[in-house]
């Protein structure tokens, strides 16, 4: 094979490989991704065995600490209104976790309850970051 042709073959092979890998990456990202939903959307369309990324605010009076480091609380839409989603959570609780704070947690439906993936809780910005007056409700 002459050098020019060899280079062409090399180029085609490596480009094909790159396209295949990128395709695989893109395919898996869509199949492995979790939908990001609000509590109202989650209640409307959650299916058993799929996991979702749920974003909502902690409902007042819903937080209970159970033995074994289990946390039981409900999340509601940030805008208010709608039904709250009860969540069972184990794992590290970020410091800003509080009633009225917005947080993100990965949940899946088990029967009527939603069980969170252990350690998946992320709290969004504490209210102090925003220039608006403090909106703490505790």
């Amino acid at each position: 094979m002459n050098p020019g042709r060899k280079r062409q073959v090399r180029l085609v092979v490596s480009l094909t490989l790159a396209v295949l890998l990128a395709g695989g990456l893109i395919y898996t990202s869509f199949s492995a991704a979790d939908e990001a939903l609000t509590p109202t959307q989650l209640l409307a369309r959650a299916k058993t065995d799929l996991s979702y990324q749920l974003t909502g605010t902690v409902v007042k009076g819903s937080v209970r600490r159970l033995p074994g480091g289990v946390l039981d609380f409900s999340l509601a839409d940030r805008a208010g209104g709608g039904r709250a989603v009860p969540v069972i959570y184990t794992g590290a609780v970020p410091d800003p976790f509080r009633v009225g704070r917005e947080l993100i947690v990965t949940v899946s439906k088990r029967g009527r309850d939603f069980v969170a993936a252990p350690g998946s809780m992320i709290t969004k910005c504490p209210s102090k970051y925003s220039p608006a007056p403090s909106t703490k409700s505790t």
């Binding site: 280079r7 990456l25 898996t28 600490r65 590290a92 609780v93 410091d95 102090k128």
Partner: protein, 728 residues
């Protein structure tokens, strides 16, 4: 003072606009004096922004709550150290920090190139001032740090307790220095492409500053990881968070650039690729700033949605389109001088390393932006989690570690079989020995990626060690120096090479820590009553007794109440250590929960108590008890008691509030509820930090300028310039 501050920012903006015009005019008409005026504008910008920075800093230290930024991010109870750092807790303050650092580092770059690159510098100055103009106009028009309120509030909201960590003083400036340093190679690349002076000289400048940004950004990332590790709930040292990824992407691309640039220096190849990498790294750095500052993606760092999205998108679009145009229109001067001789050569190894690093960056980019991508593609936002990232990053990282052992020992141009045998025999033996050890001595055989990584690391140690040994032996033979002197002079004579090798070793050590701790950590969440114990990874941890302290805060972050537990750790009956995890409660300056309740009504923060050793970290953290609800009765009672004493005056009331808080704390210690604890035993975490230190030591060795070395480097560059002229 706020008026002065705003005026100073306007002057800064005018300075940048004047400097851009002067430098461009000087370049077009060949007027040195105008070019010099442009360069001096960069220095002037640095001086002006230093004044603005100092004004705001003084306002923070003096508790001048008339400034909105001070009122929002500082307070009377925020200790001095954190008041000084509170400036970059705010959007406006951090943008000011960004542009201030930009002006300082730009001045350094412009100063170092004052007698060089005559044609390129005017354009580079314009680009640097262009970034300066962008960020100053954000400060002038969109997010002024000098906004005021009259009458001034008597107290501020306070710096978020989560940010009251010594890292707050150093992590953001380091990270921002890294980001701003990236504008310098970008500016010089643009200048070189515009003037078609894509010779060896600009590459030298670009490489130096790319190395500086690589170093600063790396230190910034590691400090952030260390900080996240010490706070409960930030999910350990790395969580594939959008903002973490934003810093990692330009770092990876600049790593690729620092390697591929060597191919251009030695062989005149990959010029288009290198120019693209420089431009891409800087664009990703701006993108990183954008992600941190705009809150467009959900992140633990999300600093609130802001109005800065559109200006940033415009800037990034200009950078991307301009970069593509420049590279495409200058492709004729960017042609390669040589072709790849063999796939078994250092060039090929570096190219593979580049492909892997760019691939890794693409994976991270895709995952980071997936919420936006999926929203466009399917209409609903979706996210990918750590398992998805790990699936791609783990094999890519493994291959990169292996390559970091192959690169140093594979010859340029073409490796012969004999040479390969000579260079690879020892590293292969080391890797094989590690493989055997993994299944016999070391307890890691249950995790295939960890075994693979350990073998790659053994390979790297052996190959780099062999290079050091050979260079040292040769140096001793030729110079006749004593062994230690020969080692030092060997490194000094070729800092880049040996600095780079040290970086490789450091990264290998770092990955040992990452692999072991992420695979073999044991974590437990338990509620332990006083006297109860549990076993985590073979370590028995006992809740000895609760503790409480008011006002005196062991870490001086300004917490008014600190609750904790003393934990005793034993292993096989032998005493190991005593841990003291605490939760700290901060006051709520709005006073919404009554006189006593407000003392502890703000945020609470739990900090890890850590026992680090070479072999493992034992840690405990207490999940801050929700005293607001658990002690609601006591606090309400105390509130009424204080309010009943209204006649005694404000001082007596405050005093009484603290007494009652002390009584509540005392009651908590006498009748403690079960402590909600996070207990962990993680092997080899310390290797991660030690490896990082080695990486940065290597980076410093590589970047450190010395007269003799830079003279020789310049001679080599001159030789290349002459070579290029000869071809032209």
């Amino acid at each position: 003072m706020a008026v002065v501050g705003r005026a100073v920012l306007v002057v800064a903006l005018l300075t940048t606009l004047f400097g851009i015009t002067a430098a461009l005019y000087g370049a077009r008409h060949g007027r040195r004096d105008w070019v010099d005026a442009g360069r001096r504008s960069v220095y002037a910008l640095a001086v002006i922004l230093t004044v603005a920075f100092a004004l705001l800093e003084v306002a923070f230290i003096d508790n001048d709550f008339a400034f909105n930024t001070v009122a929002n991010d500082s307070s009377l109870t925020t200790p001095l150290f954190y008041r000084a750092a509170a400036m970059w807790g705010s959007q406006e303050g951090s943008l000011l920090l960004w542009v201030w650092l930009l002006s300082l580092w730009s001045s350094l770059a412009v100063f170092l190139t004052r007698n060089r690159l005559r044609e390129v510098v005017p354009y580079a100055v314009s680009v640097l001032l262009g970034f300066g103009a962008f960020f100053t106009s954000l400060l002038v028009f969109f997010a002024t740090p000098f906004g005021t309120t009259t009458p001034a509030p008597t107290n501020g909201v306070g710096l978020d307790p989560l940010l009251r960590n010594p890292s707050m003083m150093i992590h953001p400036p380091m990270l921002y220095s890294g980001y701003t340093f990236f504008t310098i190679p970008f500016a010089f690349a643009v200048g070189a492409l515009i003037t078609r002076r894509v010779d060896a000289e600009w590459i030298q400048v670009a490489r130096r500053f790319a190395l500086a940004s690589w170093l600063f950004l790396g230190v910034g990332i590691l400090l952030g990881a260390r900080w996240a590790y010490s706070e409960i709930g930030w999910g350990g040292y790395w969580g594939w968070d959008a903002v973490e990824n934003a810093a990692l992407m330009p770092w990876l691309i600049s790593t690729a650039f620092l390697h591929s640039i060597m191919i251009q220096e030695k062989r005149g190849m990959l010029k288009i690729w290198n120019a693209s990498l420089v431009l891409a790294a800087s664009t990703l750095a701006i993108l990183g700033t954008f992600l941190v500052r705009s809150g467009i993606l959900s992140s633990i760092h999300a600093f609130g949605a802001s109005t800065l999205g559109i200006p940033f998108v415009v800037l990034i679009a200009v950078m991307v389109i301009g970069s593509i145009y420049l590279v495409v229109s200058r492709r004729d001067v960017l042609r390669s001088e040589h072709r790849l001789d063999s796939l078994f050569s250092r060039e090929a190894a570096f190219m593979l390393n580049n492909v892997l690093l760019v691939g890794l960056t693409f994976v991270i980019f895709w995952g980071t932006f997936f919420p936006l991508i999926s929203e466009v593609a399917t209409g609903t936002q979706s996210v990918v989690g750590t398992p998805w990232f790990d699936r791609y990053t783990v094999p890519l990282a493994l291959m990169l570690v292996l390559l970091s052992g192959i690169g140093p020992v594979i010859p340029w141009r073409r490796a012969t079989l004999a040479k390969a045998r000579r260079n690879f025999a020892l590293p292969l033996v080391a890797a094989a020995a590690m493989l055997i050890a993994s299944f016999t001595v070391l307890p890691i055989s249950s995790s295939v990626p960890t075994v693979a990584l350990f073998c790659c690391v053994a390979f790297v140690f052996a190959s780099v060690g062999q290079e050091f040994w050979r260079g040292w032996r040769a140096r001793r033979a030729t110079s006749g120096d004593s062994p230690p002197r020969a080692l030092i002079s060997m490194v000094r004579r070729n800092r880049r090479r040996y600095g780079g090798y040290i970086v490789h070793v450091g990264l290998a050590v770092l990955f040992v820590g990452v692999a072991a701790s992420s695979t073999f950590s044991r974590t437990q969440f338990v509620n332990l009553q006083k006297g109860q114990s549990t076993v985590v990874g073979g370590y028995k941890m006992t809740n000895v007794r609760p503790t409480a302290a008011i006002v005196t805060d062991p870490t001086s972050t300004g917490a008014l109440l600190t609750l904790g537990v003393i934990m005793r750790v034993t292993h096989d009956g032998r005493y190991v250590t005593t841990l003291h995890p605490v939760a700290q409660y901060y006051d709520d300056e709005t006073g919404g929960e009554g006189p006593v309740g407000s003392l502890i009504g703000g945020d609470s923060v739990s900090t890890l108590s850590l026992h680090s050793s070479f072999r493992r970290d034992i840690s405990a953290a207490i999940d801050a008890p929700d005293i607001q609800s658990e002690l609601q009765g006591e606090i309400n009672h105390a509130n009424t008691l204080v309010l009943d004493e209204r006649s005694e005056g404000a001082v007596a009331q405050t005093k009484l509030s603290y007494y009652l808080l002390a009584a509540i704390a005392g009651g908590y210690v006498r009748h403690p509820p079960a402590a909600p604890l996070k207990l962990a035993s993680s092997p080899l975490v310390m290797w991660l930090w030690l490896g990082a230190l080695v990486v940065f030591a290597g980076g410093l060795i590589a970047i450190w300028p010395t007269a003799g070395v830079s003279g020789r480097v310049r001679a080599r560059y001159l030789a290349r310039v002459a070579h290029e002229l000869g071809r032209a």
